[in-house]
């Protein structure tokens, strides 16, 4: 896999198809991976790909909007690229996608890699990128989507849910790392940073934290491509995917929509049907 990626990267840089390849290299701990930008053939051998390459690199493309760039993309990352193309943030012809088949990534933290795939990957249906120019790896079949975690939460009592989430939001330190990691969060000025009106109080208060976390998730309704980077980077381990996946489940159920599967698509909030019957609405 790694060799094929390197060979392709070299070819792309040599022919001048792209000016830069965004991929992964070995981090200084010698075990995990970190993002790398390769600008010349000399650096191509720094590229690695293995079970530790968990990051979603697609957000880096936003810094290179008008420049020809190649990117190593796992299935979830490829959906992010579709999302960004759909929302006018990227042009397809500027991006060369080196898609990699993914069997699920393990839990990676500093100096430690788990044996089992992460929970998010165990639930992920996509094994092959939805869009690519060059595919690395043998295509495998997609898995069915399951929402057992969301359903478990749904079935808890309201007081239990409320208590659970207040405790989770109570721990939030409002570092906004979830936003920084999310490929869908590309606003130049996030609502949480705005002062007039101050949508979210600047205190570290559980209700303000709740406002931030719920609206952040809601802004990704019909847009979240479930790469789960938000949860991975959360320093206080708030189960953000439980929020995102609830919306993903409902969007799928109500509007038969999955974000990022196609670049040319009408997102659920951009349209409506006159005679649709939605739960809870008379």
């Amino acid at each position: 896999m790694q060799d094929k990626i390197r060979a392709k990267a070299r070819e792309l840089l040599e022919t001048g198809t792209v000016d830069c390849v965004i991929g992964y290299e070995r981090a200084t701990d010698g075990l995990t991976a970190r993002p790398v930008f390769i600008y010349g053939t000399a650096g191509v051998d720094r590229l690695v790909f293995d079970q530790t390459c968990v990051h979603n690199l697609s957000k880096f493309l936003l810094d290179r909007r008008d420049k020809r760039t190649a990117i190593v993309a796992k299935p979830c990352d490829s959906r992010a690229i579709n999302l960004l193309i759909n929302e006018g943030q990227l042009a397809r012809d500027k991006v060369y996608i080196i898609g990699v088949v993914c069997q699920g990534m393990p839990e990676v933290s500093w100096n430690r890699v788990s044996k089992e795939p992460q929970e998010r990957c165990q639930r992920c249906p996509q094994r092959v990128p939805v869009v690519y120019d060059y595919l690395v790896g043998e295509p495998v079949e997609a898995l069915p989507v399951t929402f057992s975690d969301v359903e478990q939460m749904e079935n808890a009592g309201p007081a239990e849910r409320r208590g659970f989430w207040l405790e989770q939001f109570g721990r939030c330190i409002r570092c906004h790392a979830c936003r920084q990691a999310c490929p869908g969060c590309y606003c130049s000025e996030c609502f949480v940073d705005q002062l007039d009106p101050t949508w979210v109080g600047i205190r570290k208060d559980v209700t303000d934290n709740e406002m931030w976390n719920t609206i952040r998730a809601f802004h990704l309704a019909g847009r979240c491509i479930s790469c789960n980077e938000c949860e991975r980077v959360c320093p206080v381990s708030i189960p953000l995917s439980l929020l995102n996946r609830k919306l993903e489940k409902d969007v799928g159920e109500f509007f038969d929509f999955q974000a990022g599967i196609k670049a040319e698509t009408v997102p659920p909030f951009a349209t409506f049907k006159k005679d649709e019957h939605l739960k809870g609405v008379e």
Binding site: E87, G88, C187, E189, F191
Partner: protein, 666 residues
């Protein structure tokens, strides 16, 4: 710093009776940025308004809250008042403490007072964030476009032109006149249709403020009320209409015969043709599909080896003015308009959808409009009613009503409104043509609402002997030279079998083909039957949701001639009223974009119901949203979906609404 004045109205005892005004005053005095409070017996009265004006001056107020009745009642009044006091009229908010408080909580003074205080608090919080708004004035082009040259469009165009404004009429057929031109007589007066229509057609063509584009279609529409930019495609006629005199030599000599669309296939026309003798303009077009020379050219271009078709060019040889122009191509040009009237009319339902009636299968099963052509003196039979199969004069004629009307199974649930009347007309006319004719009319209900309509259908029965049978037809089939009609008379509950010479299907109306595409170009709505939708079915019947676009005639729903003419005139008045202004004043409560926050995801452009948001490219290459204030109606959908809050709605800004929500917990 806002200096807010709060004026609390007693409204006699309407408010004071169930709200403790003194307590509201006391509470309002303590609200942030409130520098002056006052109560009035009737704030809307002259002394009340004067008191606001005085207080604004005396206390240097720059915001005003009036706690009184609903803003739907007196918002305009008080806006004027603060304007007279020298403030911008939008620096006012109304606290609705009558309709939404004192009147609904008259049984609980304590809680009504509490609620009144909070309603005032909401208004104070909002008004502190109001800022000056100005209505914008947009120039307008005093020129109207009428799409469709039927009777409705002709009437609209004539009325606008006579009101002193320029009109352009675009018609896709080679002549104006529309469906009315195809009719023989009109009910209930039995006026000759052509006799009353053709003078109007000529008047229109000769009007010095009217420009006529026949054989042309609207290709695209941009802009908004007062400033539409319309691309018109003039289809190639292959005949130079500036030099052509309409002498008629060409269409008399052209050897290629084609079924005539105007005669609905009952007669023939030539490949170079005018649709009917009184056509306007009386200048021909060449049907490039059937013209022998064009066929020859296509053959040469394709390079096929097969037998060469003849190369004719008779019209070119005979034309005394040399007007045949084989090189002419479609031409697209852009025109500016201030108003658009859509009068695209209808077409008749295709009766072959009813297999049991045998339309298209038996030549003697024809539609009502085809019968019109057979009866018309300028029609293919010269006004003699001859049946299509053998040219015999039919003696027994059966009419079938509601073909493509009032039938949910055929997706035509509506009544086409004119069929009952034209069946009665046909029964009368057939008897007039030939006293031996016996007409049988199978009907479901006789719908004859209209001036002298009911009397007309009675006449058909009583004076002209038409036999009306209530019931549907189950089957029609050919037996020898006769058509056997099987049906049921539901009034006596017995099956009926008739042997007819001619069967006439009273086909209903449906919107003209292509109307959906046109509606999408215009951004106006259409219903499930593809009829265009008026702004309000009762009170705004010729307007659309898009300002400056009006509707007339059968494109809105089935109409007869008087209604279509009335609507044409009504739409013309709307356009003329628009043109009576020197500029258009826009509502200042429109959306605005903060380009520094806009990420260019353009969700707003997708949700805007008025297509009021377009894009603009900035110098740094970013593409951001841009609001056209002429199109924006201020619904705020864009502001609600914008994640970065880059787009906001004047008058209901994020700041204002947010302040209202939070003020409740101050």
């Amino acid at each position: 710093m806002a200096r807010i004045g709060v004026f609390i109205c007693h409204c006699g005892s309407n408010i004071a009776g169930s709200v403790d005004i003194a307590r509201v005053l006391e509470a309002a005095r303590k609200m942030p940025q409130v520098v002056y409070v006052e109560d009035n017996k009737y704030t809307c009265s002259d002394p009340g308004q004067a008191s606001i004006r005085n207080a604004v001056k005396a206390h240097r107020l720059n915001r005003v809250v009036v706690a009184a009745c609903s803003p739907r009642m007196h918002e305009k009044t008080f806006r004027k008042t603060v304007e007279q006091a020298g403030l911008n009229p939008f620096l006012l908010e109304i606290a609705n403490i009558r309709e939404q408080d004192s009147w609904v909580h008259s049984d609980d003074k304590e809680r009504a007072t509490e609620k009144a205080i909070e309603i005032v608090r909401l208004a104070v919080a909002k008004v502190a964030r109001n800022y000056e708004l100005y209505a914008r004035q947009i120039s307008l082009t005093k020129r109207a476009l009428v799409i469709g040259g039927g009777i409705s469009g002709i009437q609209a165009a004539l009325d606008i032109a006579n009101a002193g404004h320029e009109v352009v009429l675009v018609e896709r057929e080679p002549t104006i006149g529309g469906r009315m031109a195809q009719l023989d007589k009109t009910f209930p007066t039995l006026d000759c249709s052509a006799c009353i229509l053709t003078p109007k057609m000529v008047e229109l063509a000769q009007h010095n403020r009217v420009v006529l584009f026949t054989y042309a279609e609207v290709q695209s529409i941009k802009g908004f009320v007062g400033n539409f930019e319309v691309e018109v495609r003039q289809k190639a006629r292959k005949v130079n209409h500036t030099t052509c005199t309409g002498c008629g030599t060409c269409w008399q000599k052209c050897p290629e015969k084609v079924p005539s669309e105007f005669d609905l296939g009952m007669g023939q026309r030539t490949a170079i043709y005018i649709p009917f003798p009184q056509a306007v303009p009386t200048k021909p077009v060449i049907d490039t599909e059937h013209c022998r020379y064009m066929k020859y050219q296509r053959f040469v271009a394709s390079g096929e080896e097969d037998k060469k078709p003849p190369q004719c060019r008779v019209c070119e040889k005979l034309c005394p003015t040399g007007s045949i122009d084989w090189e002419e191509q479609d031409r697209v040009f852009t025109e500016k308009f201030g108003a658009i009237i859509v009068a695209t009319g209808y077409q008749t339902f295709d009766a072959s959808a009813y297999g049991e009636y045998g339309a298209g299968m038996y030549p003697d099963v024809i539609s009502g409009l085809q019968l019109e052509r057979l009866m018309c003196a300028s029609g293919p039979t010269g006004g003699e009613v001859k049946r299509p199969s053998d040219g015999a004069h039919p003696k027994t004629v059966v009419f079938v009503s509601c073909v493509g009307s009032r039938d949910e199974a055929k997706c035509r649930p509506y009544c086409s409104k004119v069929c009952c009347m034209y069946m009665a007309k046909h029964a009368i006319m057939l008897r007039e043509h030939d006293p031996e004719v016996q007409c049988y009319i199978f009907y479901i209900d006789i719908r004859a609402g209209g001036k002298a309509y009911e009397e007309f259908t009675r006449r058909a029965q009583e004076e002209y002997g038409a036999i009306y049978l209530r019931g549907r037809i189950s089957k029609i089939y050919q037996e020898g030279k006769k058509l056997v009609v099987l049906g049921e008379d539901s009034l006596i509950g017995r099956p009926v079998e008739l042997s007819a010479d001619l069967v006439v299907l009273a086909t209903g109306m449906e919107p003209s083909s292509g109307v959906v595409e046109l509606a999408q170009k215009l951004n106006i709505s259409y219903d499930t039957n593809q009829f265009l939708v008026e702004a309000h079915p009762k009170l705004r019947p010729v307007e659309t949701q898009s300002d400056g676009i009006f509707l007339a005639g059968a494109c809105v729903g089935p109409r007869d001639i008087p209604d279509s003419v009335a609507q044409g005139s009504a739409a013309a008045v709307k356009a003329a009223a628009l043109f009576s202004q020197d500029y258009i004043t826009t509502d200042p409560m429109t959306a605005m974009v903060d380009i520094s926050r806009c990420t260019g995801c353009l969700l707003c452009t997708q949700v805007c119901p008025f297509k009021a948001i377009s894009t603009q490219a900035l110098r740094d290459g970013r593409v951001v949203a841009s609001v056209n204030e002429g199109l924006c109606k201020g619904c705020g959908l864009c502001a609600a979906v914008c994640r970065s809050k880059a787009i906001d709605l004047r008058g209901f800004t994020n700041q204002q609404l947010f302040a209202e929500v939070t003020s409740l917990w101050q």
